[in-house]
Symmetry: C2
Amino acid sequence: MDLQSLQSVAPPGQFPEPERSGVYRAIRQRRDIREFRDDPIDETTLARLIQAAHHGPSVGFMQPWDFIVVRDMERRRQVKALFERERQAAACFYDEPRRSAYLALKLEGILESPVNLCVTCDPTRAEVVLGRNSMPETDVYSTCCAVQNLWLAARSEGIGVGWVSILKLPQLRQILGIPHHIVPVAYLCMGHPRDFPEEPLLQTAGWRQRLPLEQLVHFDDWDNTAGGDSWPELQDALYTCTIQRS
Amino acid sequence: MDLQSLQSVAPPGQFPEPERSGVYRAIRQRRDIREFRDDPIDETTLARLIQAAHHGPSVGFMQPWDFIVVRDMERRRQVKALFERERQAAACFYDEPRRSAYLALKLEGILESPVNLCVTCDPTRAEVVLGRNSMPETDVYSTCCAVQNLWLAARSEGIGVGWVSILKLPQLRQILGIPHHIVPVAYLCMGHPRDFPEEPLLQTAGWRQRLPLEQLVHFDDWDNTAGGDSWPELQDALYTCTIQRS
């Protein structure tokens, strides 16, 4: 096989190897970070991460997102107090020993991280949004995809991101002056992490395990999880495929 | 400056250059694809893309997603008919000449693409989900992040992905046999694209333009978009930063 035919095997838009594996490495090594060093994020890097989010996909090219960069300690103390109240309330839903295990987990780095970032969604950004008529919720879906862009780009920069979802929206709006019609989608803590753990904290802590992928794949119809005669290759591949571990 | 001190400048978790730029390239060059070649996706690649989605972040490590791989043409014809009906209905919300412009856009590749993938969210996957008490919607948020993982990994493989949101959920559930309590989050068309356009189709078609990033960033409080004395560096960086264009 000559070089010409070897090259024709790779799809034309495929990235060359170090770039392609960089994407999978970011996906594999991204973690929800809750322990931060206190040195700041370089401002150019922070701007680049927000730019990465801004290049997320959006329904009808709506770009419904806004970004509130929060460094002010007084506002962050208020967010932390809100988190603490919600965390205590959530603990009531667990019985012992799960409750103590829950309360022992470190779940955020609101005050320790050098910067917080609230990513919001404005459902009113455009009057009629192409593609949003049948599924209005695609505006917040777009915003989530933007967050994931930022999260993966941050991983490639060695920057840790932790998503704090133990917050109530009305109070969060009040602390950051967000209008009622704007949806705060993600409240993120960002900074240089103490480390990037190999596996998710909740897996290491024995809280939950990663589900076997082959249990989650259906073939043509929800009820067909067995695959069958026409799906052997994909089924084999699902059992054996791994994305880069380290 | 010796090598030691040079190395100490880069954050410890930062990827080496070709890998880091691969992540930004995927973010910059990802497109919503609607025109496909008809050759199939290699099954190992498809499995790897689903695996990439499965490594998305999820609230409380809930992993609420399922994946329905749809190759059956009869079901896809039904999805296409559903899309057509919704597309016509959505056209009613535009006046001319916008209406004709809308109807002239190619918005999906349901039948031409070699495979469709429906990514769903199961809100009942775990009884009490850590971190989901205050914001129950974080289950679908997690699923969207998983979709974005798949989308970026696909771009690095030269595989195109198009998200079809012009569908109604009850009918889609019926076509694919999805139980009522499961939320179909994304219906994706996947395959080798005719090309990866440089800019989003809706931008090229003059439908909407990319918003200037600096309009979307707020400082400590929603009402502070001007920044001010304590934010000059970040503001400068927001104006000037770009992520790789090609």
